[in-house]
Subunit: 217 residues, 2 copies
């Protein structure tokens, strides 16, 4: 499969690297054609790894992964070109987090989410929110943490969620550990989990953790 991964930070490079390792072709997208991190990544990652602008990347990919910060997502996807998103699965792994005066702030929050913003802005794309509840090392290697901890998917399109669930399986998340929360509105729920993620990170001192939902027998 051909993937566009938008964003050259840790999250984008980790996802892109894993996808190449799995045998997929990836174009890592950035704002400029000659982004240093993207050039270096493509040089290291072998013959299935490419780099280009957000538009080059989205034109290339059959699936588009939004790995830029949630607050940048709409602008980046617009610059990728709506015509390169039509009908495609957009996997949104972002969180709309920023630090302002040393405090974490989410925006949008509560009455909206990045997942919903993207789906509204690109109604012919098939947006699936997932993976934003774990750090990027865990995204592609969940066995780093023991136990039957889970990952969530949110989206309007069942076929798109199935496709993402299959991809999550390639990353190491078996289907029974992929919890379908429902429509894209539930992206609010997983985005609003971030303050708890951050509090757990600060109290435990590690970012390598995840939650396992346990139910009554």
């Amino acid at each position: 499969m051909r993937y566009a991964v938008l964003g050259t930070g840790d999250v984008g490079r980790t996802l892109a690297g894993k996808l190449v390792e799995l045998g997929h072709e990836v174009t890592l997208g950035s704002r400029t054609k000659d982004n240093e991190a993207a050039v270096a990544w493509a040089g290291d990652a072998g013959p299935r790894a490419f780099h280009g602008t957000f538009e080059d990347s989205a034109a290339f990919g059959e699936v588009v992964v939004n790995a830029v910060g949630g607050r940048l997502a709409l602008a980046v996807l617009r610059s990728a070109g709506e015509e390169h998103l039509d009908g495609k699965v957009i996997l949104d792994v972002s969180n709309p987090m920023a630090f302002e005066d040393g405090e974490m702030r989410l925006s949008p929050v509560e009455s909206d989410s990045v997942g919903e913003q993207i789906q509204r802005a690109f109604p012919r794309a098939r947006v699936v929110k997932s993976l934003n509840t774990v750090n990027c090392a865990l995204m592609v290697d969940p066995a780093r943490v023991p136990g039957e901890h889970q990952i969530f998917v949110s989206g309007e399109d069942d076929g798109a969620k199935e496709q993402v669930t299959a991809l999550l399986g390639e990353f190491g998340w078996p289907a029974h550990r992929v919890l379908d929360l429902g429509g894209i509105r539930t992206a609010r729920a997983v985005e609003m989990y971030l303050p708890l993620w951050l509090a757990l990170f600060q109290s435990t001192g590690t970012s390598e953790f995840n939650v396992e939902v346990r139910r009554a027998r």
Copy 2:
């Protein structure tokens, strides 16, 4: 120990009932002196169970449990009387949730929390946020769900958190499953978990669940 439990809903009655069962004395508080639910509860729950106004209850309790909805908490605690809260532990188990036009809304959210509001309004009280991340049956009987799932505490006063941790132990939460998230500001984190709790409730069809934080080995 003498407890004030403010609020005669499921949460208040469940907590009050468990406290009486554990050998404590409880005054269940409500807006009026002759609240039907409170009168019935005190009649059924035996000689250590009392009922009264919020003020009666708070005057009686050595520890005050806020079990009214988060949006009512400040008004209820004000009517209980600041002089009856001074120096006491206030265990806040509330969520600032309401349904508006069929949609869940949290207020305050993100830049504030009920836990912080209470601590600001009653600076001489020692506020601890806890238990708001599970349904009330689980609050007092965590063994209903298997596994090493945890409960969170947030607050400024370490002694108050120790006292609440001991109470959680009486409810069935061993100390190693009580995660101290830090100061009362982290009440935001556990209050903002509610949308995910609700999405999990809706997708799993049960309210008897909790999360177990799993860490890398």
